[in-house]
Symmetry: C2
Subunit: 194 residues, 2 copies
DNA sequence: ACCTGAACACCGTTCAAGT
DNA sequence: ACCTGAACACCGTTCAAGT
């Protein structure tokens, strides 16, 4: 109770900020808008977060943590590594389903050079978490460590690109067919390559 | 002579605006900065372009045209379609070589929903030009039209993603190894798939 | 024909002040 | 403990005015 009430305003800020950042990126995250969404004034945001940079870093950190948790859940639920790899794009698909939004950190990756360093750190952490998980799955299929690592980067980059493209066209079917094309080419599989 | 002098200021604006947009995107394109780079005041930009949106659209249009021209040159120069496909990522690599910049239109794709519609149109045209060229090359390798079209989207999305990722890490070697990984998987080849 | 200073409504941020 | 109005330097844009 106490905790809920205490976290209420802060939690609301984080929630709305995540939605806005997913749709408009860091530079599109407008504090006056955000405050209005939350029901307070822009100046009041500074009671909860020292700056826009810190707020965005908090948003990105929570997003990265959720993402890793989702992947862990997938690898516990799925029977084998190949299934995990095949289903990996689902996590990216869900953002598109949810109002043509986009993976927060892939989005911010475009603005990367202009992000405050605290935010850069969290965006990196998100990507690293995904890549580590992919690398682990690929090794489970029998791929050598070095090869698995490179392939993990490739899958992450390719799926991010597909999401970005599908969002631009506002066409989730395009996401599906690009992913299917990756599968056909063999990008989302484990051992079947050199 | 006359033409050169006439175009001089406008050309300078387009040139500098392209550089800035490649590094910071549309929302990062600051008119006061741009004007200073050109050697005029921000208000003077409005003599040459009616708005930031029109300026950015002009930048994107020229960029898209150059890109198609580069691809045409490649397909004339290269001996066969497979070579063209293998060399396609070079056009994206060059932006990274040039100061860790990024394909203007892939960059803008992240901001897509917030772009003025004139700019959206040009970004689409860029992507469509690339995809059409890729589709043609893929068909030349014997791929069926429908399959080639989907694969063209996939290649474009994957290479864009690789560029974005490599830029975030400021590591052109990462771009190369991701592309190599695509090749190994078979994504950048023609007929070798179902 | 080309450029400018001053002004507008907007942004992130600060801070003294309110409850 | 939590919020606010007013102010700051900044943004895109307009416009009357300069040469």
């Amino acid at each position: 109770m106490k905790i809920e009430a205490e976290a209420s305003s802060r939690a609301k800020i984080l929630f709305e900020a995540t939605r806005i950042a997913q749709a408009h990126g860091y530079s599109g995250l407008n504090l006056r808008n955000l405050a209005q969404q939350v029901g307070i004034k822009a100046a009041s945001l500074y009671y909860h977060f020292p700056s826009k940079a810190d707020l965005a870093a908090a948003v990105a950190r929570r997003y990265a943590e959720d993402s890793v948790a989702t992947l862990e859940a997938l690898s516990l639920e799925a029977s084998d590594a190949e299934t995990c790899l095949r289903r990996y794009p689902e996590t990216f698909r869900r953002s598109l389903e949810n109002g043509n939004r986009i993976c927060l950190c892939s989005f911010m990756a475009a603005e990367y050079d202009d992000l405050p360093s605290e935010v850069q750190t969290e965006v990196q952490a998100f990507a690293d978490g995904n890549i580590a998980w992919l690398g682990k799955m690929l090794q489970l299929t029998g791929m050598k460590r070095q090869h698995a690592q490179t392939r993990a980067y490739a899958i992450f980059a390719a799926v991010s690109g597909a999401q970005l493209m599908a969002r631009g066209r506002a066409d989730i079917g395009l996401f599906d067919s690009i992913i299917e094309s990756y599968r056909v080419a063999g990008l989302l599989r484990g051992e079947n390559t050199t």
